[in-house]
Symmetry: none
Subunit: 91 residues, 4 copies
DNA sequence: CATGAAAAAGAAGCGC
DNA sequence: GCGCTTCTTTTTCATG
């Protein structure tokens, strides 16, 4: 059996090691996925509350997205646009 | 000013309340989003580890998806795929 | 047999109609998908040519993306940002 | 000025050539992208029609995907899924 | 080959 | 409840 985990074409102890490891990996992954889902629910609760307070959730999401963009990258991109717009004589 | 939160076209104390609340909502949402991203990173680490152990991450993801699905729905869907394939005379 | 296309549990002429229709739909879809792929190849050729001319393809893609954003929507979004930034006292 | 197209830090005729070429490239790319989008719309229309005829679009997409895949790879992948499931003692 | 970005598919939430 | 949009995930492709 090689390290490449087809888990084992022959029956022996090493397969069990591979299977155990696989099981561990999958269970851990599932746990993390579960936690992610829970956070997603939390987020939705926050948005519901926002809505209940009269705010526009769609707009809030936009704001958050805008705020999440790395400002430096944003500036760089803007600078790039200007450079190329100049070259293309547009705007 | 009404309950509908455009935050306020006129300056008064109530706007401040609205703005504060909005700020709170956004900051909490951002925090949760941050945590979700962190869990996403954790997940990717787990997958990297899996890959390093010789497992096929794509297959692992498929397994996880299969495990997460309602088995009954799964059967129904599979059956429908078979029906359509039969109608098309494929396979 | 209803209009709901499980295509038919019993064998009869109507199924054939459904099967024919299904086959037609799938073949048309596949044709369109094929054409889309071909256009994707065309696009890649254009990018290759650009690269051969010494341009940075990544940057070209960014430019195209920027140009593709609806300017009006862009302005609206910007305005919205400003409104909310003011409310949040940021920047 | 080199062949490397930063388009030119100094003003001269060669830049114009580069700018023209860049403009041409971008416009052609945009045209192709436009056509791709149009085909995407066509595809959606086909799916809408399918739905209107009582078919399950999700299943249709699955069928199309299955038909597009290399059957050998498909078998291998399925086999691997089974292997992993066996290792996990599920199903 | 491995990384990262772009497109497509699938799932979920929102509005009418 | 259904259609529509948005968000997430998956897959593909190009580049190093």
């Amino acid at each position: 059996m090689t390290e490449e985990n087809g888990i084992g074409h022959n029956s022996n102890r090493f397969e069990d090691v591979g299977a155990k490891r696989l099981r561990s990996i999958i269970e851990r992954a599932e746990r993390v996925i579960e936690e992610k889902k829970a956070l997603g629910d939390d987020l939705n609760e926050i948005y519901s509350e926002a809505k209940g307070s009269g705010f526009d959730v769609k707009i809030i999401k936009k704001i958050i997205k805008i705020r999440s963009r790395d400002p430096k990258k944003q500036r760089e991109e803007d600078a790039l646009v200007e450079t190329y717009k100049a070259a293309l004589c547009i705007d």
